[in-house]
């Protein structure tokens, strides 16, 4: 397994397109999120030149996981689309705080277990550790995330120190998402 990090310019050719397709297969086809997509690619207004991607791919260059890092000094998902997840607190805007979103770690070609199991434990942990390393290299001291509840369950069981920014909410009445803080100094 190889984990890459970079933006649309410096990721190897074809990786970003495969990530967009992987996100479509995970978030739209598997989880049923109602996102605007074209041609089997999931992209939104936060996929910009300054967006940083952390990508896991296997030896056949099949994407196995992804994460998206955005500086909170620019527009980002939580502030623009889901501010209600912050429980009345203002959306953070600081070079110390980066947002982690579109986090997934599953072999979409070999799904195992129930639909509740959206994540491969070992890969999710490796992907989060690498996302933390990359975010730290960009000056982050804290991450704020928008994620499905399953991410929290898995990472808490793995020992990550996370705390909720607010209660989970059902999007489109179906799937629960929530926002949470990860203090990077606590690893």
């Amino acid at each position: 397994m190889q984990i890459l990090a970079g933006n649309t310019v410096n990721l190897p050719e074809g990786v970003f397109n495969r990530v967009s397709n992987y996100r479509h297969r995970v978030f739209v086809e598997r989880l049923g999120w109602e996102l605007n997509c074209t041609d089997g690619l999931e992209l939104d207004q936060f996929d910009r030149p300054d967006t940083v991607y952390v990508v896991a791919q296997d030896q056949d260059e099949c994407i196995q996981g992804c994460a998206r890092l955005l500086p909170t000094t620019q527009s980002y998902l939580l502030a623009e689309v889901f501010p209600q997840l912050l429980n009345g607190a203002p959306a953070p805007k600081s070079p110390d705080v980066w947002e982690l979103s579109r986090f997934a770690a599953v072999d979409i070609n070999n799904p195992v277990g129930s639909t509740d199991r959206q994540f491969s434990s070992d890969l999710a942990i490796s992907l989060l550790r690498e996302s933390i390393r990359v975010a730290k290299s960009k000056g982050a001291k804290r991450l704020i995330t928008v994620s499905p509840l399953g991410v929290e369950r898995l990472l808490v069981r793995a020992g990550f120190k996370m705390r909720r920014a607010g209660p989970p909410m059902l999007v489109s009445g179906k799937y629960p998402i929530f926002a949470c803080w990860i203090d990077l100094c606590e690893g």
Binding site: N87, A89, D116, R117, L149, E152, R164, A165, P168, W181
Partner: protein, 137 residues
């Protein structure tokens, strides 16, 4: 709006925590939000017989603001005679308990108090009725 003594009626603190004493928390009504099943918990028993260990998650919240959120994983452990539903893994919340001097008891201290709270609360029936309702629909 539900008024609870010792409970700030404003937004969470800048670090995202809702701070209060454990005693104030005990006065906050919590309401069931959702629960779900993990469907693939199969554990082999020593004598080679397989038994399904049913488990899942549950989410509760306050109606008072700032909203308190509390979730935990649970598991039904079957014995030869009966079954027992217990919390497993640490609870998840946005709470930070403080002492009477308004000093944080810390994440570990808060977790211990939340575990004590959950483990003495009769939540099993409500979770099961929610799951049965959704299973039937």
């Amino acid at each position: 709006m539900i008024l609870v003594p010792g409970y700030s009626l404003e937004r969470p603190d800048d670090d995202g925590y809702v701070r209060m004493t454990f005693e104030a928390f005990l006065g906050v009504p919590l309401f069931h939000l959702m629960s779900g099943l993990d469907e693939d918990e199969v554990v082999g028993l020593p004598d080679g017989v397989c038994s399904n260990h049913i488990g899942g998650y549950t989410e509760w919240l306050s109606h008072a603001r700032p909203v308190i959120t509390l979730g935990w994983d649970w598991q039904i452990r079957a014995t030869r005679q009966s079954h027992l539903c217990v919390r497993v893994n640490p609870p998840r919340s946005n709470l930070m308990f403080v002492d009477r001097m308004h000093t944080d008891v810390g994440p570990s201290g808060t977790l211990r108090l939340l575990e004590q709270f959950i483990d003495h609360r009769p939540w099993y029936e409500q979770i099961m009725s929610h799951i049965n309702l959704y299973s039937a629909s």
